[in-house]
């Protein structure tokens, strides 16, 4: 669930919600829903309420207590929230998570776009390249991270014995973020490539032929024709990539465990970690705040897409 990119249509449709599901103009006049239709809607809703809504309410409730996850507890009002805002570990985790998310999303998009353009052009071994570039998507983030951990700790220092790489990027607090960004790009690029390929396919070859006839050089073609037409897809990919990156967990656990010290600890870790330290209520408060942040960002992104959509892709 956490490591798969959501196709573009999800957000595109969400932004134009009523258009997505509204009945067509020539639909039948209103009639009562068939009984079977209720059977199709109520079970998901009920199950969802039990398994999602109810725990959400419990979490919010717990955030106002000092519940350790077991044993006795009492209300503490806003104490958890007050403590959160002076918590240096959490502050650093937010800073690091956002910095990581922005950087890795940017890099993923640049790589993915470049590779998609390459794949879209007339090259040899297109199928072979396609197979290779889509491959990382089917692998588990944790297992990939463990593999790369050894590469960064042992193989690279052996091959390049000097400088930060030679010391092992993961051991040093100031460079430990680099492998995480690299692995995130490695795993995240395929999904973005697919979307760009779809976008390039929708752009069509006529424009390229026209620009070739006019004698345009490849870079100019890209800058004035390809990129503007793809702009919408770039936005969508960035939005999706950012959301996935903010929730990164597997990669950090596999590569650094959050270390050295707290250097690479991410927000999801600080929340999950509360399970084992008897800080259920504190984690609940952190979770509430994180949910609010995530929702705000999503709303912001939807607004951007909607504006783009209205401006015409």
């Amino acid at each position: 669930m956490t490591s798969t990119e959501i196709p573009a249509v999800a957000f595109d449709e969400a932004a134009n919600l009523t258009d997505a599901v509204a009945p067509r103009d020539d639909a039948l006049p209103r009639r009562r829903p068939a009984r079977a239709h209720y059977f199709m809607v109520l079970p998901p809703v009920i199950l969802y309420t039990i398994f999602v809504t109810w725990p959400a309410i419990q979490g919010i409730f717990a955030s106002f207590t000092n519940y350790a996850g077991f044993g006795s507890w009492h209300f503490v009002g806003l104490a958890n929230y007050r403590a959160m805002f002076s918590d240096p570990e959490l502050g650093h985790a937010y800073w690091f998570t956002f910095a990581f998310a922005i950087l890795s999303t940017l890099l993923s998009q640049i790589f993915a776009l470049a590779i998609a353009i390459g794949l879209n052009s007339r090259i040899k071994f297109k199928n072979g390249f396609q197979t290779i570039f889509f491959l990382p998507m089917v692998l588990a983030g944790l297992v990939v991270s463990y593999s790369f951990k050894y590469i960064f700790n042992t193989t690279l220092p052996y091959i390049i014995g000097w400088g930060p790489i030679g010391d092992g990027l993961l051991v040093n607090a100031s460079t430990a973020w680099i492998p995480i960004v690299i692995v995130a790009t490695w795993i995240g690029a395929p999904a973005a490539i697919i979307i760009y390929l779809a976008g390039l396919a929708s752009v069509g070859t006529d424009v390229y032929e026209a620009s070739e006839i006019d004698g345009a050089k490849p870079w100019k073609t890209f800058r004035y024709i390809t990129f503007p037409l793809l702009a919408g897809f770039v936005v969508i990919n960035t939005v999706l990539g950012l959301k996935a990156a903010l929730n990164v967990y597997d990669l950090v656990i596999g590569l650094t465990g959050g270390g050295p010290g707290n250097a690479t600890t991410v927000v999801s870790q600080t929340i999950i970690g509360g399970l084992n330290t008897g800080e259920f209520a504190y984690s609940a408060a952190k979770a509430v705040v994180f949910a609010v942040v995530t929702i705000l960002i999503s709303i912001l992104q939807l607004a951007i897409i909607r504006r783009r959509g209205q401006g015409g892709l």
Partner: protein
């Protein structure tokens, strides 16, 4: 708007209810399998083999409820949060997580066990100084260890150094070793718990550890520069000692881990080693002469009077309060077996620790015999890591201090974390 037929709704709800009822039933396919024995957790790495044999021997006697030992390391806290699939008996190191369970009242009161009457009073007191829930016997102490400075008798003789009894003598000894090209102390800072352990020695010898933690716990939200006791006021002497010793470690000690350290020390790479008796399991395995070569002395304080052993409740046994029925009967039976002299006294004799039974034979193994008198005389202090609440990133911050030498930042940060935690949990 369409009208919802009440019958439809009931049928729909019934369908969902049926599915929901089936799911747990189906999921018993994945059940823990009580048929395969009661869950007995013992995850102390060095003694997994020992207790595997204990469990096997117990099962061989044909008890009503055989046990199945688990040695997977990992926090047991989420078992309490889930309140399901709890182990029937746990034999674990007492640490700040166990403290959490005790103080939440989540452990069964074992005061009625026959072993309780035969326990050493000083061990019971020791446990109570670490955690207390309504004066119940939330755990039974099983093994107390005294950690100090393991030393290489041959290297000491070679350099003409006597066992130091004061801090100044300790530093002088290090200087002597250094001048003779012998590494004074072996460091294993890649494994941060070892930093924590030796910092405990310095805390032991510069303050009254139990009283200190009691005081900062009481200060609660008022902890700060103005309180009577605080980390900022009282911790720097221990920090200074820790930092002072860094120059006496071997080159590259920050990258060496515990296992590697054992190898090196067993091979005579250094004169002293800050470890507890559990390390002897490895040292004795690696070096056949270990019994003659290595001994332990208490890391000295400013004077002989402040020299204390750093004691840990290395193993204790407990049962979660939620265990009941046949699991409880089986768990209590196995617990009584663990506390029987054949098991507990034998374990402690072999592992150079102190049995919690009052009538146990004295611990006179030459590798720890120098430190035993201190333990018997009550000259010991608890290892501080047991007293830090879970959730305060104590060890990370400690490691950071050893890297940047910034004592002020470290102690103020610990005060902040403590105060913040008090804000969160008391209100």
């Amino acid at each position: 708007m369409a009208e919802i037929n009440r019958r439809t709704l009931l049928i729909g709800a019934g369908g969902v209810g049926l599915a929901a009822a089936l799911a747990p039933g189906l999921s018993t396919l994945f059940g823990g399998g009580s048929s395969s024995g009661l869950r007995y957790v013992q995850a102390k790495r060095e003694v997994v083999d020992y207790f595997t044999k204990v469990a096997a021997d117990y099962n061989a006697t044909g008890p009503a409820h055989p046990v199945r030992m688990e040695s997977q390391a990992g926090s047991l806290t989420n078992g309490f949060v889930r309140n399901s699939n709890q182990p029937a008996v746990v034999n674990s190191n007492f640490n700040n997580e166990i403290k959490l369970y005790v103080e939440a009242g989540a452990l069964r009161d074992l005061s009625d066990r026959p072993a309780v009457e035969r326990l050493r009073p000083d061990h019971i007191e020791f446990f109570r100084s670490l955690a207390n829930f309504n004066d119940e016997m939330s755990v039974l102490p099983f093994s107390v260890t005294a950690a100090g400075t393991i030393y290489n008798k041959e290297l000491f003789a070679q350099a003409g150094v006597e066992i130091p009894t004061t801090w100044d003598e300790f530093i002088a000894a290090c200087e002597t070793f250094k001048s003779k090209d012998i590494v004074p102390i072996l460091g294993t800072y890649a494994d941060t718990w070892t930093i924590d352990l030796q910092f405990g020695y310095h805390m032991c010898s510069t303050m009254d550890v139990a009283a200190f933690f009691q005081a900062v716990g009481d200060a609660g939200v008022d902890l700060g520069p103005d309180s009577a006791y605080s980390f900022e006021k009282d911790l720097p002497p221990a920090c200074d000692r820790l930092l002072a010793l860094l120059s006496y470690f071997q080159d590259g000690f920050q990258r060496v881990g515990y296992d590697q350290g054992n190898q090196q020390f067993a091979g005579g790479a250094a004169a002293m080693y800050f470890q507890g008796p559990w390390a002897f399991t490895a040292l004795n395995n690696i070096n056949p002469d270990a019994k003659e070569v290595f001994g332990t002395f208490a890391t000295p304080g400013a004077s002989a009077a402040n020299t204390k052993a750093s004691a840990g409740l290395d193993l204790c046994v407990w049962i979660p309060r939620s265990i009941s029925g046949s699991a409880l009967d089986g768990g209590l039976a196995f617990l009584d077996h663990l506390m029987s002299p054949a098991v507990i006294d034998d374990y402690n004799a072999v592992n150079l620790a102190y049995s919690s039974l009052a009538d146990a034979p004295p611990q006179d193994d030459p590798q720890v015999s120098d430190i035993t008198p201190l333990m018997d005389a009550g000259q010991f202090a608890p290892q501080p890591s047991m007293l830090f609440p879970a959730g305060i990133p104590w060890v990370n911050l400690l490691q950071q201090m050893t890297l940047d030498g910034n004592v002020g930042k470290f102690v103020r940060r610990i005060d902040d974390e403590y105060r913040r935690r008090a804000i969160r949990t008391s209100a």
